[in-house]
Symmetry: C2
Subunit: 367 residues, 2 copies
């Protein structure tokens, strides 16, 4: 795919810098320092790393060829220029010249200090990061990692349900969930434990007393393999007919959406199915320009980032087998608060698999 | 200071984008999305944020003026251009034009997609991030935050010493320390619990059995206020005269360095004092080009990043009151393993204050 991109742009190189998950995805190499992955139309598949990381890069990365900055003459240039950034830029420029580059492609967030130096020697074009689209379709190995994180979430949610019998404070419950996950090797931050009318703001993480109902939205990543998963349930704790009806409706919308997901349908079809169910039951949607009701998208891809491709919204993206995303309809009314039900699914050829299987309606009123 | 920078460069604007701690330092505003802080020579002090973050920005940020992208016509441009990145670039370009900008300054990691668009309308120069130098000298409020994290570290280290009576596995001990800190509101990752001869690699986080001695290096940040601290002790668990002598020597070097730290001396003087003590006792140093012995710098600034200004090495930086950094001499020999003692200090006018006060020599042989 990178070859086609280079060809269509009449460019000789794409350069991916370290510092985001696209670099890790492309190279399978994690590094806190600066490193650069060069893909050339001449077949170049080269990772450039600091000298001290060269051995580890050879062991861990999936890139064909590794060169250290020292190999490429960085230290001589540093002595001469006495400026680490200029020395780095010159080192990469010489490398590109050796490969007869005339035009190079860079992703939008590529560091400006390099891009502006490159411009003195080459044509430079910013392109959408090509790895973003590739990342949307997961390998089996990636799916197993998301499954692993999903299992940990369900364990932590079961703990939360146990604790809800005595803990009725949002911050305390959040801390218990996150600490449990941390001790098992998962990092959850800003876990939503949101109750009462303030839960009508879907971004509010929740503070204070847990009242008639509580939204618990847990989205950790593994500290080992770094893949996220994402899961939400709304727990009923006391009578509130409006909230209960909202929850039943959201559950119905979610189940209808999940039942239709398979390879070949579009994101928009899924999103509109959710909107249709909610509107039929008399609720408001953003689709109809309302600011209460269902005011966000149906879902988002989950992987190395918590929000990635595909987006399940009004877009025409066609779902492909191996895509992993959330299905998370919600309803939010300032008068009553919010409800949401969220699962992560994998698209299959003739359907989809739910990775976060757990009962949708949780009623702790009689506990 | 930004005014002087703009003047000296004959530029009208410096633009800081969100995504690193310099943005937070400059604005006191945390945001997961794109946001931009504009400082103009005409007195402009403006934060540009997405519409949904405007109210929070008004409450939380210390910037004088807040504008949303919507206020600046982003959505009209998006409709016209159908490209969110180009619409964003045009919106910022129009803003700069309104302020009669001709030359703008950007930090090295500024996103290329914007820098290359800016170039079509303005002169653009990449400068060292001006906030890095400012961040080296901490306010009292910042020092209290680093003190808070330091207190948590000492608590977690006391727990580690208790656990060492029965837990003799590096990974288990690391997990106990990190989970304890997490439950108290601090995030520690890659905590070093390193034992045996492999501890001769100062970057090895440690795995396997804990033997005659163990290096424990804990460097969490607060999940609330986001400031780091950093602390290392080497614990003696069984007889090993070489390790013990190394530890005594490192402790002496550290104490001599700490006793001389005050406003006005240079980083190099501190680093060379450490080297002098170690060399006098017959150990090797990188200063003398050895690859065993004391093979790293004496310390680094600590704040919103775990490694920041000032560097305590062979550089001539003059220490100023309010600077906060580590003093962490170590000795590393493949034959015996490594030892290190590390504290965080605040430079004062006539001395320095240690924020991580704890006995240097910890001998658990008789426990």
């Amino acid at each position: 795919m990178l070859y086609e991109l280079l060809k269509s742009k009449n460019a000789q190189f794409y350069i991916q810098h370290s510092g985001d998950n696209n670099f890790y995805y492309a190279t399978k190499f994690r590094i806190p320092n600066s490193a650069f992955y060069f893909v050339g139309i001449d077949g170049t598949d080269l990772l450039v790393v600091p000298e001290m990381e060269k051995n580890r890069a050879s062991r861990e990365s999936k890139v064909k060829e590794i060169a250290s900055l020292t190999d490429l003459g960085y230290h001589e240039r540093l002595k001469e220029l006495k400026d680490s950034k200029r020395a780095l830029a010159q080192t990469l420029i010489e490398l590109l010249k050796t490969h007869k580059a005339k035009k190079i492609l860079i992703p939008p967030n590529f560091p400006s200090f390099l891009a502006l130096e490159f411009l003195k020697y080459f044509e430079v074009e910013v392109v959408e990061n090509p790895f973003l689209k590739m990342r949307a379709v997961k390998s089996n190995d990636e799916i197993e990692k998301i499954r692993d994180t999903s299992v940990a979430i369900i364990e932590s949610f079961k703990l939360a349900l146990e604790l809800l019998k005595k803990v009725r404070d949002c911050d305390m419950l959040r801390n218990e969930i996150e600490t449990f996950l941390f001790s098992r090797g998962y990092l959850a931050q800003d876990t939503i434990v949101s109750s009462g009318k303030l839960s009508a703001d879907p971004h509010f993480i929740g503070h204070g007393e847990i009242k008639e109902h509580v939204i618990i939205d847990i989205f950790p990543k593994s500290r080992k393999h770094h893949y996220y998963s994402d899961f939400t349930r709304t727990v009923i704790l006391d009578d509130c007919p409006e909230i209960e009806e909202m929850l039943d409706t959201v559950t119905e919308a979610q189940q209808k959406a999940i039942s239709m997901i398979r390879e070949g349908i579009t994101a928009k079809e899924v999103h509109y199915t959710v909107c249709d169910v909610l509107e039929e039951r008399g609720y408001h949607t953003l689709r109809k320009k309302y600011r209460e009701g269902f005011i966000h998208s149906t879902g988002h891809g989950v992987g190395l980032d918590i929000h990635e491709e595909p987006r399940i919204y009004e877009n025409e993206d066609v779902l492909r087998a191996g895509m992993v995303f959330t299905v998370e309809p919600g309803l939010y009314y300032r008068k009553w608060g919010g409800v949401r039900v969220e699962d992560v699914v994998v698209v299959r050829k003739h359907g989809c698999e739910v990775l976060t299987e757990f009962p949708k309606k949780i009623d702790l009123r009689r506990v």
